[in-house]
């Protein structure tokens, strides 16, 4: 069995002062009224597993006011739980300071490297705001793709970060040339650097889009219908002619003061029956495509690592019809571990709930049948 989370404790995280929640393999349903902390709990699971939040760019928001730090502790069960191989993973965070990550009380460099080494959990998250991956700007789709590949390969993450820095340097150089502050003697050097790093990014993406598109296609088939769905990659400059394209764009780039070709200008196309979902998809199709992208990410991780990531899906049921809800509930139940939030337990069948863990949330207090005694064993 793939790694999964047995227990989680949150201290000063969003609206939780100090709360403990036990999780089971398979489906876990978080239920509660609006604004009780369901999304915060899902966010906390992701934070505990990866050391960062997928929800916001201003991370200091996760610290409960007026506390000065937030902390998550989780117990990860590795392999077959029968063997009792369990790790304690903790994340301590005070805004402005380096995060303190520990695995079994030993300081860890990053949690993704532990996950890569099979001692942590990977996650695939869904928040309603993720609709922008389908609907939004190309940068949202690039972020989806780069984020997925970065968690799997640190060298890819590094190439993406270095590429961004090299493009920044080139852009500044272009502006300096335009404003007469630089002779432009080093433009060739920065072009070479940009192409070198950009090629690594392009190669990583090119290798991923094929299989990821297939996974997206089968997820859409299950969620939407028989129409063929897939992915395409739209290059601002093709891999073979990248260097030439960058050289050709030089004059125009100097004028604009920005680099007009390269992976930072590309787009990931999401197609349904040959139609571009971003431009022409209906609201319903776009919603289902967002879900399908998350399912595809799960399959991609599973394919690349042999391990099933933990699924963290926020309020995913409310927008769906009965047939699709049923499909999703089974999908989650059959996964290694899924944590799903909802306002309405009736979205799930009684029989299914009897095989799942139900976690009730009210005003930052957590209760579930198995730990109603409130024991804190994390």
């Amino acid at each position: 069995m793939s790694p999964h989370i047995r227990a989680l404790r949150l201290v000063n995280f969003r609206n939780y002062a100090d709360a403990t929640v036990l999780l089971s393999p398979g489906l876990n349903v978080i239920v509660g009224d609006n604004a009780q902390g369901k999304t915060n709990l899902l966010e906390a699971v992701s934070f505990a597993a990866t050391g960062s939040t997928p929800r916001t760019s201003t991370e200091s928001e996760v610290v409960r006011w007026p506390a000065e730090f937030a902390r998550t502790e989780m117990r990860v069960v590795l392999g077959d739980g029968a063997r009792g191989d369990e790790r304690a993973v903790a994340v301590g965070y005070a805004p402005g300071q380096r995060k303190r990550l520990t695995v079994d009380d030993v300081p860890a460099e990053s949690l993704s490297s532990y996950a890569a080494g099979g001692a942590g959990v990977r996650t695939v998250t869904f928040f309603p705001d993720d609709l922008r991956i389908v609907k939004g700007a190309p940068s949202d789709r690039r972020e989806y793709l780069d984020g997925l590949l970065s968690t799997l390969r640190p060298s890819y993450a590094r190439a993406v970060a270095e590429y961004a820095r090299a493009v920044q340097q080139r852009n500044q150089l272009l502006r300096r040339i335009r404003d007469g502050l630089s002779s432009g003697k080093t433009l060739q050097t920065w072009d070479t650097k940009v192409v070198d790093l950009g090629t690594r990014v392009l190669q990583g993406r090119a290798a991923a889009v094929g299989p990821l598109g297939d996974f997206f296609g089968s997820a859409m088939r299950a969620l939407y219908g028989s129409e063929k769905a897939g992915m395409g990659y739209s290059y601002s400059a093709p891999l073979e002619g990248y260097c030439e394209a960058l050289t050709e764009a030089r004059d125009a780039d100097v004028e604009r003061g920005t680099t007009s070709v390269g992976p930072h200008r590309d787009d990931l196309e999401l197609l349904l029956g040959g139609m571009d979902l971003t431009t022409y998809g209906s609201q319903g199709q776009q919603r289902l495509a967002t879900l399908a992208l998350k399912f595809a990410a799960r399959e991609y991780v599973r394919d690349a690592t042999g391990e099933d990531p933990v699924l963290l899906f926020d309020d995913v049921m409310s927008e769906l019809d009965g047939r699709r809800r049923e499909y999703l509930a089974e999908y989650f139940q059959e996964s290694t571990q899924a944590v799903i939030s909802t306002t309405n337990l009736e979205y799930f069948e009684e029989e299914l709930l009897s095989r799942s863990r139900v976690i009730r949330i009210s005003g930052g207090e957590i209760s579930s049948p198995a730990d109603s005694s409130g024991k804190r064993d994390v």
Binding site: P154, S155, Q169, L173, S182, K185
Partner: protein, 199 residues
């Protein structure tokens, strides 16, 4: 109103201008000086003055020296056919401590970075090219930092001396020796993997 007497405040302010010294450290050092023996403080003051009065860049390699040329440039036992280009004078110390290198140096004075407004003219690259022409250099070892700007600087130097028939090499990057593979960060290990060699 200042917390301490004005001279103490001034010392703290001056100290906290130094790199990697924050206000707390500055205060601790200042009080150490205040409590300590006068000779120690005068010794420090003199050392600071001396370094500003007497140290200048070597006219050949721009290492720091009291003379026209630095000790390394004047040492006839060193191999004048090889020049190791570094960003800062203190990089020389790091390389010297390896005991592996017997050639000369060239201090560039930083790395190319348009974001910081640093162009080739701001570095001593033209001086390096002149040296290669005049000294019959056979190899330049570019030992800039292994980051974006350091690597771009190395590439630019290679391009500038392309027609002079000099070999340009860069340092390998890889695993720290004597350490455990387990503790290497993934990027370093990934690079080491990409640069593996046959036994």
């Amino acid at each position: 109103m200042a917390t301490y007497a004005r001279p103490v405040e001034r010392l703290i302010t001056e100290l906290s201008r130094l790199p990697s010294i924050g206000p707390k450290s500055a205060q601790r050092i200042a009080f150490h000086v205040v409590r300590g023996r006068p000779e120690e403080a005068y010794g420090l003051a003199e050392a600071l003055k001396e370094v500003k009065d007497r140290i200048r860049p070597c006219k050949r390699c721009f290492n720091l020296t009291e003379e026209e040329e630095c000790e390394i440039c004047r040492d006839s036992r060193r191999d004048a056919a090889v020049i190791c280009a570094v960003e800062d004078p203190y990089d020389i110390g790091s390389i010297e401590r390896t005991g592996e290198y017997r050639g000369l140096y060239h201090v560039l004075g930083g790395s190319l970075s348009p974001l910081d407004g640093i162009e080739p003219e701001d570095l001593r690259i033209a001086e390096l090219v002149e040296r290669v022409k005049g000294e019959g250099t056979e190899e330049i070892v570019v030992a800039t930092n292994p980051n974006t700007t350091g690597e771009a600087t190395a590439m630019y130097i290679a391009q500038e001396v392309q027609e002079l028939g000099v070999r340009v090499t860069v340092l390998a990057s890889g695993l720290p020796v004597g350490g455990d593979l387990e503790y290497a960060d993934e990027v370093t290990l990934g690079r080491a993997f990409a640069g593996r060699r046959q036994l």
